[in-house]
């Protein structure tokens, strides 16, 4: 064991980049990443090919003749019935659904979460518990009665609710409530209670504390909630089908219509372009928000 005669280990252990564990680790991850990335790649390349090439070629090959025709067609001229204005209408409909739904659902849920976290009253826990359980009830159970409820509420106030933007906004607010309330309640509970107490001692009331103390500290959680809602509402299909009518169909429903409106053969390149266009908004949000998105889904999910 005399060191002098041998090579002496010193410093970090020598590493081979191509060690067996590394090959396994990165190999597996690369294969997995390919599986996940493949559909996006196929969508993009197919949407840039001509129909002839789609029929003749390999879905994994790059286009030989690049064309943005399918994109233009998907956006502006693809037909559902005799309406040939592509997905553009659905896009703007989705935007018109999205903005009020996100604002309303987040406003209500944030105030509600704040009330549950800081101003507990008798019975609050019960309602909150039922709200959480409600998140797991299959939508199908409630779809039909909600039509009747919307109609009744509309009749009561003397305006149309079912089948309009307003009705869909309310439905999104209702079904976004459990997860958002949870998110906000947990966040507001995690803020130091002293802060709240100090504001109380200073004589501030419910709304003053909310707007002047809580809100300024809550930007991150609002961003998280927004990511969650924008993605969720944009991707919604079921409510869009049931609670709207064709001229305010959101993009997902219109996508399904365009793809299923077959005239002759299926135009896969246009379908892929339309699919990509529909997925674009959540994808952009995802890639732009990065870790916040992960935080959002993890926070939303872990405690769900």
């Amino acid at each position: 064991m005399s060191d002098a005669t041998q090579f002496t280990p010193r410093g970090p252990r020598p590493r081979r980049i191509f060690s067996a564990p590394n090959i396994f680790l990165y190999g597996t991850l690369t294969v997995v990443a390919a599986y996940y990335a493949l559909p996006l790649y196929v969508m993009i390349t197919t949407s840039l090919k001509t129909m002839d090439e789609v029929r003749a070629g390999n879905i994994f090959s790059l286009p030989t003749q690049w064309t943005i025709e399918p994109w233009i067609k998907a956006w502006a001229t693809a037909c559902t019935g005799i309406n040939c204005d592509g997905l553009s209408r659905g896009f703007w409909n989705s935007v018109r659904i999205l903005i009020p739904s996100v604002i309303l659902s987040i406003s209500i849920a944030s105030v509600n979460g704040y009330a549950l976290a800081n101003w507990r009253y008798k019975g609050a826990e019960f309602f909150f518990a039922v709200l959480m359980i409600g998140a797991f009830i299959p939508y199908q159970v409630m779809l039909y009665p909600i039509v009747l409820v919307l109609r009744a509420v509309g009749d009561f106030f003397g305006f149309q609710l079912y089948g309009t933007l307003g009705g869909l906004v309310i439905v999104h607010t209702i079904f976004g409530m459990p997860i958002l309330t949870l998110l906000f309640r947990n966040y507001f509970s995690s803020l130091p209670e002293e802060l709240f107490k100090a504001a109380r001692v200073d004589g501030a009331g419910f709304w003053r504390i909310f707007f002047q103390v809580m809100l300024p500290m809550s930007l991150p959680i609002f961003v998280v909630a927004m990511i969650l809602q924008v993605t969720g509402i944009w991707n919604d299909f079921l409510f869009g089908v049931i609670y709207t009518k064709p001229d305010i169909y959101p993009m997902t429903v219109q996508l399904n219509n365009i793809v299923n409106s077959v005239q002759g053969t299926k135009e896969y390149n246009v379908n892929m372009a339309a699919t990509l266009l529909t997925g674009l908004v959540p994808l952009v949000i995802y890639f732009a928000s990065g870790k916040l998105f992960v935080r959002g889904v993890a926070a939303g999910a872990v405690k769900g």
Partner: protein, 409 residues
């Protein structure tokens, strides 16, 4: 003379109220090439009369569209007018008072005198009141055959179902699909109905579908039908398209020998620029029993609070039955007109065959008119399974079928 006065009165009715142009949203599920072209005819005519047609096309099949249409009517957001297959689909809506009574239009225009067959109007009538305007007759009872496919395979064009079955091996040997079938449930159920009428005959069909006779459904006549359907299933084994018009496209391009499909398939041949008798052939009643089933589409008009809208709804109802619209619409769609008093000389071979059979009165009601949607749905579920599962025996399927008929209402 009497007729002219009535027509004049109707025109006056239309003319008087056309002064105020109204927007009407019209929902329908005509989204394939031929269908869309036909809808455009309706829209054009309506717009030309001064009102505005807001198109509410819902893609997919009636199965997808109907829920949307009905839930909108129920939800208090009715459209101006909507397509529905006339028959029992609207029964409950009428009972609930959600659909507009257009008896005045029907009487003013003398629908009872001009609509042929009159069963179409009867389907629109509940307790003596008229609730819908029929627009066309669609018959399921056709098979469409490809000249190219048979030429490629080097066999003679079959003239009836038995010959078609006999020619199947030759087609298969030539790499063709003998029978093109889509996978939507209504296609499976419809094709079965056609085979049933052709093999077991109209009387058996009526006993089951009108009288709900479960014994007949379980009987030997139907057993033959199920055997034939199982045989057809084998011929369609390689046809893995989803939509009916993709299946039609297989026939158009000569990849498949034939397709059992209603006369709306003709619109697809037309859009593809094919000529009946040259590029494709049509056999009514599978060439066995030349017969026409008189299903079809009708427009219903949900009750609206605005009297102006109601007036426009009635204008549209009158327009849909008018001779000009009947001609242009049905020519585009490949369906038969609902009145016998118009000039269909522009019709092609296949349509003429249909018109002739219709004129001869060799007609059957459509399943939609005799069975409740619930029962139709159950039969669809059974048929789609039967057509797609080669392991499901004919006897097994027949037993289930008889049970559905026994419980039908």
């Amino acid at each position: 003379m009497k007729l002219t006065t009535k027509l004049l009165a109707a025109t006056a009715l239309v003319g008087a109220s056309a002064a105020s142009a109204t927007e009407l949203e019209v929902t329908h599920w005509w989204t394939s090439g031929g269908e869309a072209a036909a809808v455009a005819k309706l829209a054009e005519a309506f717009n030309a009369s001064g009102d505005t047609w807001i198109d509410g096309a819902i893609a997919g099949s009636g199965g997808t569209a109907r829920p949307i249409i009905i839930s909108r009517i129920l939800g208090g957001d009715p459209m101006g007018a909507t397509q529905l297959n006339h028959g029992r689909q609207a029964e409950e809506l009428i009972e609930a008072g959600l659909l507009l009574d257009i008896t005045d239009v029907a009487e003013a225009q003398g629908w009872r005198d001009i609509i042929n067959p009159i069963s179409l109007l009867d389907s629109c009538t509940v307790d003596g009141r008229v609730y819908c305007a029929p627009v066309n007759i669609h018959s399921w009872q056709w098979i469409w055959l490809s000249h190219k496919a048979y030429a490629d395979a080097g066999v003679a064009m079959p003239t009836n179902w038995d010959e078609f079955v006999a020619s199947a091996p030759a087609l298969e040997a030539a790499g063709k699909i003998p029978l093109a079938m889509g996978q939507q449930p209504w296609q499976s159920s419809g094709a079965f109905g056609v085979i049933a009428v052709a093999i077991a005959g109209p009387d058996v069909w009526k006993a089951i579908n009108i009288d709900k006779n479960a014994e007949v459904a379980a009987g030997p006549e139907m057993a033959k039908v199920f055997e034939a359907a199982a045989n057809a299933r084998a011929m369609a084994a390689n046809s893995n398209v989803q939509d009916w018009n993709q299946a039609t496209n297989l026939v158009i391009t000569g990849q498949a020998g034939g397709q059992i499909m209603g006369d709306w398939a003709q619109g697809e041949f037309q859009v593809a620029g094919q000529v009946a008798g040259v590029d494709y052939e049509c056999l009514p009643g599978l060439g066995v029993n030349e017969i026409i089933s008189t299903g079809g589409d009708a427009f219903y008009f949900p009750v609206q609070s605005d009297p102006e809208v109601e007036a426009a709804q009635k204008r549209l109802a009158a327009l849909l039955v008018s001779p000009e619209v009947q001609v242009s619409f049905n020519l585009a769609k490949g369906s038969l007109p609902i009145r016998g008093d118009i000039d269909m000389s522009a019709a092609n071979d296949c349509m003429r065959k249909g018109l002739a059979i219709l004129a001869g009165g060799n007609i059957l009601p459509d399943g939609n008119q005799t069975l409740s949607p619930d029962t139709s749905g159950q039969i669809e579920d059974l048929m789609v399974e039967f057509w797609n599962d080669p392991n499901m025996s004919a006897a097994d399927a027949q037993a289930q079928y008889a049970e559905i008929i026994a419980n039908a209402d």
